[in-house]
């Protein structure tokens, strides 16, 4: 009975409550009146940004919000497409005007949200250069690494009305690439799991304190073997360039995936 209750709670607590910019895609299973009013979706945020001046807004925060929202969707999609978790726990939603698959498992959703919640302050300060979603086999050896390279260009102007559609279009293209990447990747061995790696611009040791945002969600240094994959196959998925964010996504795939 406890478990059944938790599953029900999964659907109710699916909205990203701890992330300041919640995913609008998660809201469809909330009961009316049981959740706080949904925060603005990306397009609202970007629209606001387009009408404000540089002085009015903390752009680092806006970029971090947009990026973390995107990364959350991307992580769910990667877990779905690469079958790290059973497809039965995923539900189809709409984000960036395309169908996406989002997990309805409360612990998994919380894990992803906590991870991104911790990364967000570093992104705000432009201290992250890569976020890697790494898929590991049963022996905890990496089989695939989805590398999101991030660069925040110096901001000159955001007055263009086309910014909204441009950024959304770029994020949509990246999600679409992830959704079809199974066609060019080899199948993963059964029993895979995942982790997220954060590469910082300065020494990671210096950022260790900054990333420990949640008390019971500690961070550690990754192992050398998790960073360096032997003779990986590199599959470029998408490079996007906008006024507020540059991002490049590629996959590193282990040559021999079978154990």
């Amino acid at each position: 009975m406890m478990r059944k209750g938790r599953v029900f709670a999964a659907a109710l607590t699916c909205p990203c409550l701890r992330v300041s910019l919640s995913l609008s895609v998660c809201l469809s299973v909330s009961l009316p009146g049981t959740e706080p009013p949904p925060p603005p979706p990306t397009h609202k945020l970007l629209k606001d940004m387009a009408t404000l001046t540089r002085q009015d807004l903390n752009f680092g925060q806006v970029v971090a919000d947009v990026l973390c929202e995107f990364l959350e969707v991307a992580v769910h999609m990667i877990l779905y497409v690469r079958e790290v978790y059973p497809i039965g726990i995923f539900q189809k939603r709409k984000k960036y005007n395309v169908p996406v698959q989002m997990s309805c498992h409360p612990e998994l959703n919380q894990y992803i949200q906590d991870t991104l919640h911790c990364i967000k302050p570093l992104i705000e300060k432009n201290e992250v250069d890569r976020v890697v979603v790494m898929i590991l086999d049963k022996e905890h050896h990496p089989v695939e690494r989805f590398v999101f390279e991030i660069s925040q260009p110096p901001l000159l102007s955001v007055s263009s009305d086309s910014l909204l559609s441009h950024v959304e279009q770029l994020l949509r293209a990246s999600i679409l690439k992830i959704s079809v990447c199974d066609a060019i990747l080899e199948s993963n061995p059964p029993g895979c799991t995942f982790t997220v790696l954060v590469h910082t611009r300065d020494a990671a040791t210096r950022n260790m304190e900054k990333i420990q945002v949640i008390k019971d969600f500690p961070w550690i240094h990754a192992d050398e073997q998790e960073v360096n994959m032997r003779e990986p196959r590199l599959i470029p998925l998408k490079t996007m360039t906008s006024d507020i964010l540059k991002m490049q996504l590629y996959v590193e795939e282990r040559a021999q995936k079978a154990p």
Binding site: Y111, T195, W219
Partner: protein, 55 residues
């Protein structure tokens, strides 16, 4: 339709190169906790719940 067969100016193809290389002197950070393992039983419960939600 004839115009579609005509040649057109092409942009030079760019070669994909990662922006950052792996620096083993500066290892990345990762969460200490592992993500949850989801049992078949839990999966079935979620599937049933989602099926019940559908109109």
């Amino acid at each position: 339709a004839q115009r579609a067969l005509e040649d057109f100016p092409k942009r030079p193809l760019t070669r994909f190169t990662p922006w950052f290389s792996n620096d083993l002197q500066n290892l990345p950070l990762k969460p200490k906790n592992h993500p949850p393992i989801i049992s078949n039983e839990e999966t079935r419960r979620i599937e049933n719940y989602l099926a019940a939600l559908e109109p």
